[in-house]
């Protein structure tokens, strides 16, 4: 891992001086075709961070995430990952309709290690049950995912992404379609994992959620990006920025 000392002004942590960066992005430019959407972006994610990526629609939040995941080739700059970094990702869209047949438990279990045999070992069973418990899904684990509520679905996606114990979790607008109680339930679950060392990148437009759960922000605007500790995140003044 890439350990380095960060000046206190760049972090809001009062107790830590030695900070371990698990992801370092330097002068990144990325987009589709020859059209750059994110330009010359520099930031890093440290162990245990809850980094909020905030900005209006169309500023390149999802483009950035796709590049971080290696799903979209970058145009210039570098992305450095800590050695053997495991990333869990909850995408914004999933094609799960009412007729989707799998139970929540089976859906979560899809992300077991891809071994060349079909049966599930005892250890894997225990890992699945543990994850269902930690995401408050145990009591509804046998229900078809297609019939679950929006909040339950998002927690199932989260449980699937966390099943292989990633060090970094990326949530892309996971709270966007949820009502208030469900947003908090989902993020409380995420925050519990973060307290045990998980780093989180949370993409959102929601200023209140960002300031409540995040410790640092990366704000994307059509004119460029800014970043800093969460208490410096400017309050939205225009409609739609929330």
């Amino acid at each position: 891992m890439d350990a380095k000392t960060i000046p206190p002004s760049r972090t809001n942590s009062r107790r830590e001086i030695l900070i371990i960066a698990i992801l370092t992005v330097d002068s990144l430019t990325t987009g589709y075709g020859d059209q750059p959407i994110v330009k010359d972006l520099t930031f890093d994610v440290n162990e245990g961070d809850f980094l909020v990526v905030i900005g209006d629609n169309g500023v390149g939040k999802t483009t950035l995430i796709r590049s971080l995941l290696g799903l979209l080739p970058i145009m210039s700059g570098t992305i450095n990952y800590a050695d053997d970094l495991r990333i869990g990702y909850v995408p914004q869209f999933r094609n799960i309709d009412d007729e989707y047949p799998l139970s929540i438990r089976d859906f979560v279990a899809l992300n077991l290690p891809q071994r060349p045999f079909p049966w599930i070992t005892k250890k894997e069973h225990r890992a699945i049950e543990r994850m269902l418990r930690l995401t408050n899904l145990t009591t509804i684990a046998d229900r078809p995912l297609g019939l679950a509520s929006g909040g339950e679905k998002q927690r199932a996606y989260l449980a699937q992404a966390l099943l292989r114990n990633p060090q970094l979790l990326i949530l892309d607008e996971s709270t966007a379609s949820l009502d208030n109680d469900m947003k908090y339930e989902l993020l409380n679950v995420v925050a519990r994992f973060q307290q045990s060392g998980l780093s989180v990148i949370f993409v959102t437009h929601d200023w209140e959620l960002a300031t409540e759960y995040g410790n640092r922000f990366l704000r994307l605007t059509p004119n460029g990006a800014s970043s800093g500790p969460i208490n410096e995140l400017p309050k939205p003044t225009v409609e739609g920025a929330k």
Binding site: Y89, P101, L102, L110, N111, P113, P116, F117
Partner: protein, 264 residues
């Protein structure tokens, strides 16, 4: 009934066909490929009639045509928006080719009927062995790629972001599907084989919510249809494929009713 060697052969072949179809069918339905499967059956018909024309065993022609075309069709129809048009075009072309090869060959019309609608009489012990070996290949490969195949079939977005090689999985699956089509066509015929590769699995998903349970149930529905179809065909002398189609359609209709009245 089982004193007759051709009925014994038909039951053994039918059992393997049902197991392979029931298993592969679950992934066909999950990946939204019933229409492609239907097309592969028509391509299989063209392959078989080419084999008759060239003097080969029908199975070899089917395997050749379905394996080659499954990859081409699979690659051409990756975009959902044009999938139906591509599949329709390919299917029309191959039906035409099938008719051409049949008319060019010196075989009688009865060989065309048996390719199109299947035939239980005259399955030799040699052909039974061929089916067993092909089925074993399909079953073993499916077991080896079961986990990534399951992830990619039931949650393609999740699978892709987890780094599962979706394209490779898709190609291997299309080859397995082509083999299964060729295997299944031996009894139910090229035109009706998609029944065993779609309906049992489509029915199973209404009764259970786990992939393994779905596979077991799908194989069971497929076995019931095949065994009962063979038995009723033997009793009445009507075509076995008719009974199999009827039984699977009844099972599917029951599954829909079950869903409507007991689940919702």
């Amino acid at each position: 009934m089982l004193a007759l060697s051709f009925m014994r052969h038909a039951f053994v072949a039918g059992t393997f066909i049902a197991i392979v179809s029931g298993l592969i069918g679950v992934f066909v339905v999950a990946r939204g490929l019933p229409f492609l499967t239907h097309t592969l059956s028509e391509i299989g018909f063209a392959g078989a009639s080419f084999a008759v024309f060239a003097g080969w065993p029908a199975l070899n022609g089917m395997i050749l045509f379905t394996m080659l075309s499954s990859i081409v069709v699979g690659q051409m129809s990756i975009k959902r928006s044009r999938r139906e048009a591509v599949i329709s075009a390919v299917s029309a072309l191959f039906l035409g080719l099938g008719i051409l090869f049949l008319s060019l060959s010196s075989e009688t019309a009865s060989s065309a009927t048996s390719i199109l609608f299947g035939s239980v009489v005259g399955i030799s012990i040699h052909e039974v062995w061929e089916l067993v070996v092909l089925s074993a290949i399909v079953l073993i490969v499916t077991m080896l790629i079961y986990r990534p195949l399951k992830f990619d079939s039931f949650d393609d977005i999740g699978a892709r972001v987890t780094g599962i090689p979706s394209t490779a999985i898709s190609v291997v699956f299309l080859l397995l599907l082509a083999l299964s089509v060729s295997v299944a066509a031996q009894i139910v015929g090229a035109l009706l084989m998609f029944i065993l590769l779609t309906l049992p699995a489509a029915s199973a998903k209404y009764f259970t919510h786990g992939v393994a349970k779905m596979i077991v149930l799908s194989i069971l529905f497929s076995l019931v249809g095949t065994w009962l179809g063979l038995y009723l065909g033997y009793l009445t002398n009507w075509p076995v494929s008719f009974f199999i189609a009827l039984i699977e359609a009844v099972i599917y209709a029951s599954a829909l009713l079950y869903q409507k009245y007991y689940v919702e």
